[in-house]
Amino acid sequence: MQRREDPLPYMQQLPLFKGFSPTELEVLSTVFLVRRLAPGDMLFKENEASASFAIIVAGSLESFKELPGGRRLELGASGAGGIVGQKALIDGKKQMSMVKALAPSIILECNRADFLRLFKADSPFAYKILDLVITDLSHRLRSMDDILDKMLSDPSKTLTSVLDALAQVSGLLGDGETEEQDGVKKYHVDI
């Protein structure tokens, strides 16, 4: 049976875990599982139950939704220190997007039940994570409002221009463009 890799050294690398005592970190290390992902490995699938979330130690993961005809809508990428799978922290409802490794990645995965146990025990770490997630959600909601608002601001543009504008406004948070790669047409919308 494979020995479980100790998450503590990875936790000590991340700003998220700063300010906690060695004892607190020891307790927290029991709820995290170290996972290594190769490029292309799927972490979460759209519509599956949100059973866990992950903190990225190294590498990067992308979030996207699949469209008909082999297209996809990219929703952004996260690197070291980022959190993916926030739904597990909030309501455990179904995942709204796919999450896949873009590069060789190391993540710390925590299941929803363990997080809820921490939260119910008034864990400062659980509060810190929730604080980050809520701030992130709030920013993303505002970005979406801006994107949808721009869509309605000038419909006299041609259809191509509308799609270009959609890709362009994703520059609110990063570079946005449409591209075709390996036969898959991608639209980037960073939220």
Partner: protein
């Protein structure tokens, strides 16, 4: 906190159900209790959000503007006990509607600065409320992403809809 008031708030307002009595007391401690006459504007559409309100007694009307200078229309009624303006605790975004008392009412105002002090101090009361509100945030984001997805799934079909929405917006602004 008055035991009867606590029982009433906790049992009927989902936002407060995860809170223990002493935690609800912390929220109530820095709240301002107000007795308000009918036809008083509690929140104004477009104004910055800096407080959450708990309607303890009475009834309020929810009004939205129907166009520049064209007045407002009533879109809903809120009866006690309930909460409104709670999203201000997360981001202080402008109010999405106007709230006016319809009857003599009792309101508790929970100020954003005071709530943030609880949040900064790591108080469970603040985080239990935030966790409840995060569900609403996540749902709104999902709905908006889905709206965007609809346009990408059928861009040609949805161009007509975009134009219609634009025209509606233009009319409401005239």
């Amino acid at each position: 906190m008055d035991a009867k008031l606590y029982a009433n708030l906790v049992s009927r307002i989902p936002l407060f159900q995860p809170l223990k009595p002493e935690e609800l007391d912390e929220i109530v401690k820095f709240s301002k209790l107000m007795r308000v006459q009918p036809k008083v504007t509690v929140l104004k559409e477009g104004a910055p959000g800096n407080a959450m309100f708990i309607l303890v007694e009475g009834k309020c009307a929810v009004l939205k503007a129907i166009g520049k200078g064209r007045g407002q229309t009533e879109v809903a009624t809120i009866s006690a006990p309930s909460v409104f303006g709670e999203m201000a605790l997360i981001d202080g975004a402008p109010r999405s509607a106007t709230i006016v008392t319809e009857t003599q009412s009792v309101l508790m105002q929970v100020n954003l600065n005071s709530f943030n002090a609880l949040r900064k101090a790591g108080k469970p009361a603040a985080f239990k409320i935030l966790r409840q509100l995060s569900g609403t945030l996540a749902q709104r984001l999902d709905e908006k992403v889905e709206r965007l997805m609809e346009f990408y799934r059928n861009p040609e079909k949805n161009m007509a809809r975009i134009e219609q929405l634009f025209l509606s917006r233009q009319m409401s602004q005239d």
